[in-house]
């Protein structure tokens, strides 16, 4: 997406430089540099604040049990915690299940939200605004409220204790539809019309114009969706009974929910690391795309 206007503008500025008084220029540049250093310093400070808990978790996960509680620093390094935690629950199985559920939900969500968003953005039909309002209301209902009713529906469908049962209530995302509809609406209608003149069908227009141009929205929605389902605990716990169908968070809960015995920090941290590491590695691998997409779509947190 090269903007041809940018080139002459840049040249113009370079050409004007010598005209400016040298001293003010230097003053300007030092001022700018100081400001930049200040900003970087603040940014760095915030990054440190965000990093401290994570570093603490990683550190404690590898500390020998004796030295976790205690305020002093210790150089001990051990894999015992990780091994102990790994053996206490079938984390391998849980990991595969989580991967399957997250990707399954995401794929279906992408299809349903594309269709729905296109309909709300570009198709005219009776009661469209009212229906869209209903969709928005759905965003405000926290999913935990629906646990009982969803459970009953799944029971009637015979889907209790299946992975499909975990996924089913999330197949349509009102948040995703809302996000994508806004993005579709911003695309110029002329593109749509031009394609229709060329004889493209609706599906064709959708797949060739709308979807590719909204890629950042898709990526950012995917991150929100995957991290939500990766961390979801109560619903999967309630729907499933067998270990064949349970997710990573259930394994984590075995260590984290110890109100009667006091927290075993080294175990909790090791379990947290096991559960969150795959997501973090994924983020590091796709870092550039992820950040780029958030810049484009303007989602925060």
């Amino acid at each position: 997406m090269g903007n041809p206007l940018k080139l002459p503008l840049l040249l113009n500025r370079k050409y004007r430089k010598p005209l400016v008084d040298n001293r003010t220029l230097r003053y300007e540049s030092t001022r700018r540099r100081i400001l930049q250093i200040l900003w970087n310093g603040i940014g760095f400070g915030f990054a440190v604040v965000w990093m401290i808990p994570f570093i603490w978790v990683v550190r404690t996960a590898f500390l020998p049990k004796e030295s976790t509680i205690g305020t002093g620093w210790s150089w001990g390094l051990t894999f015992d915690n990780l091994i102990h935690v790994w053996q206490a629950a079938p984390f391998g199985q849980f990991f595969m299940n989580t991967l399957l559920v997250c990707s399954g939900v995401l794929v279906v969500q992408l299809v349903t939200m594309t269709m729905a968003a296109y309909a709300f953005a570009r198709v005219e039909f009776a009661g469209k605004d009212f229906l869209f309002m209903l969709f928005l209301v759905q965003i405000m209902v926290p999913p935990d409220v629906l646990i009982f009713s969803n459970y009953q529906v799944l029971n009637e469908m015979g889907l209790l204790d299946t992975k499909l049962g975990i996924m089913l209530p999330y197949f349509a995302s009102s948040f995703g539809v809302f996000l994508l509809r806004q993005s579709f609406k911003q695309l110029p209608k002329e593109l749509d019309e031009a394609a229709r003149v060329e004889g493209a069908s609706r599906l064709h227009i959708l797949s060739r114009i709308y979807v590719p141009l909204s890629r950042p929205i898709y990526v950012s929605f995917a991150i929100v969706s995957v991290s939500f389902h990766w961390n979801d605990f109560l619903w999967p716990l309630i729907v499933t009974n067998s270990e064949d169908n349970r997710l990573l968070t259930v394994g984590l809960a075995m260590f984290a929910k110890a109100t009667e015995s006091g927290a075993q920090w080294s175990d909790v941290c090791a379990a947290t690391l096991i559960v969150s590491a795959p997501l973090m590695i994924g983020f590091l691998l796709f870092q550039r795309q992820v950040i780029g997409s958030f810049m484009n779509s303007g989602i925060k947190g």
Binding site: K65, E66, I69, G70, T71, Q87, A88, A89, L100, S103, G104, V107, V108, L110, I147, F148, Y151, Q152, N155, L160, D161, T162, K163, L164, M167, P212, F233, L234, L237, I238, N241, S242, D244, N245, V250, A253, M254, F255, A256, K257, A258, T259, E260, S261, G262, A263, Q264, D267, V268
Partner: protein, 454 residues
């Protein structure tokens, strides 16, 4: 263009994978079911007809102590199945007590309850109001093996209401006082003589409040009514006084003795300066004790194993001190059997309950979890004798049982317990005085219980 088609191809691949994956998981579970149903029919042709009657029951259990206690329970279930080849138990881990209750309630509403489950003893009335559980009196009357008199009476108290028994004690605890013997020595106190009365507690705590550590910590958030119950009983003249009626229909928070009890709690930090001010967090109290930030703490006996494994100093365990009498509420979960299943399943569930609470099992469970053994004879088993010989502190919670009593348990339990918990926290935070807090809690509780007193 090429990039895009690659992306769509990838998406397609993933979707196919997940779809086939789902299909597979469904198929495999179906296949398993088929195998299960197919097996008896093939074995039915053989002379042994017992196999064909294999009863399958589901067992929900929460775990509230960190670590692999799930393995212990699963192991107990599998030895049960070895001894009872005609019963198959599916143990299901269900998170903590709260998650466990939500899961059970969802199941009850959908007519898919577990056959047997561990649940907080305080859920008795809400389960009765949901018509979810069955009385166990018939099983008890017909079965001589269960020996109800062998259970500690303090634990049986909350299994019963109006002369009917609805559950069997399983993972139980009480409040005990932990103290740091080294800090006792440093403060010139005899480490073998922990405080026995409230007055002693105050003088000890004041002496121990030095060198940058607190004298005493009592947790005040979450279920602070538990600690309040303890203080209220200790300050009561009537040896059977509790903060609710035994039929669960009346709360009795606001009495002069209870106000004194709460005032004593507040004074420990505000007047005597022996305890940190404000609401002290439940989970950080044991960590504070282990790190040496407090010399004494009141906490659940469930913490014994944690303190034993992590404290680097000698520590003692004692009864929480008495004002007019000793006292501690019990806590923890019992085994319940559910309605809406077949009589065969309920009978199998009873067998399982009986097995899980038999002396050997109770001893094994107590020694591997830190919970109190629920039966007297559990302490006569070899395993328990060895455990308590190595770790005599574990006996304190058991010895205290003669002074122990029922945890706050009423109809509409959520609202009633929240009312008292919130007001206690407000009082600890200094927003309201003791008398005002209990008056308000009483009003809220009366309102919540009004429908049950018509």
């Amino acid at each position: 263009m090429l990039k895009q088609s690659k992306l769509t191809a990838l998406l397609l691949l993933v979707s196919i994978m997940t779809i086939t994956g789902c299909g597979q998981s469904n198929n495999s579970s179906e296949v398993k079911k088929e195998v299960n149903t197919a097996q008896p029919s093939t074995t039915a042709s053989t002379p042994e007809t017992k196999e064909s009657k294999k009863v399958e029951i589901t067992f929900y259990y929460p775990v509230n102590v960190g670590g692999p206690l799930t393995k212990v329970i699963d192991g107990m279930a599998s030895t049960f199945m070895e001894q009872h080849p005609d019963i198959k138990v599916n143990p299901v881990y269900t998170g903590n007590y709260g998650d466990n209750t939500v899961k059970i309630q969802a199941g009850v509403q959908a007519k898919q309850p577990p056959d047997v489950a561990v649940m907080m003893s305080t859920e008795l009335y809400s389960m009765l109001d949901m018509k979810a559980i069955i009385p166990l009196d018939d099983f008890i009357a017909q079965d001589t093996d269960i020996q109800m008199s062998d259970f500690y009476p303090a634990f049986l108290e909350d299994t019963q209401t109006e002369d009917t028994t609805y559950s069997i004690p399983f993972q139980r605890s009480t409040i005990v006082m932990y103290y740091n013997k080294e800090m006792f020595k440093a403060a010139g106190l005899d480490p073998e003589k922990p405080p026995v009365t409230w007055d002693e507690l105050v003088t000890y705590a004041k002496k121990l409040n030095r060198d940058g550590h607190a004298g005493l910590e009592i947790p005040g958030n979450d279920d602070s009514y538990w600690m309040f119950q303890m203080l209220a009983r200790q300050n009561a003249t009537d040896p059977k006084q509790n903060i609710m009626s035994s039929d669960g229909k009346k709360a009795m928070f606001n009495s002069p003795e209870n106000v004194e009890a709460l005032q004593f709690w507040l004074d420990l930090s505000h007047k005597q300066k022996a305890m940190p001010e404000g609401v002290i967090d439940w989970a950080t109290v044991p960590t504070d004790f282990i790190q040496g930030k407090t010399a004494m703490m009141m906490h659940t006996s469930g913490n014994l194993t944690n303190v034993k494994n992590n404290a680097k100093f000698e520590f003692g365990v004692a009864f929480p001190p008495a004002q007019k009498q000793f006292g501690s509420p019990t806590g923890g979960g019992n085994l319940y059997i559910f309605k809406d299943t077949s009589p065969e399943k309920q009978a199998a569930a009873w067998e399982f309950v009986k097995y899980m609470t038999a002396p050997e099992q109770a001893a094994l469970f107590s020694s591997s979890s830190g919970y109190v053994g629920v039966r007297k004879s559990a302490y006569d088993t070899e395993a328990m004798k060895k455990y308590t010989a190595d770790f005599p502190q574990a006996l304190v919670a058991r010895n205290q049982l003669e002074y122990a009593f029922r945890e706050l348990s009423t109809h509409n339990h959520g609202k009633v317990s929240t009312a008292i918990t919130n007001q206690i926290q407000a009082a600890l935070a200094g927003e309201i005085d003791a008398a005002g807090a209990l008056k308000k809690a009483q009003e809220e509780a009366d309102q919540a219980l009004a429908p049950f007193n018509k």
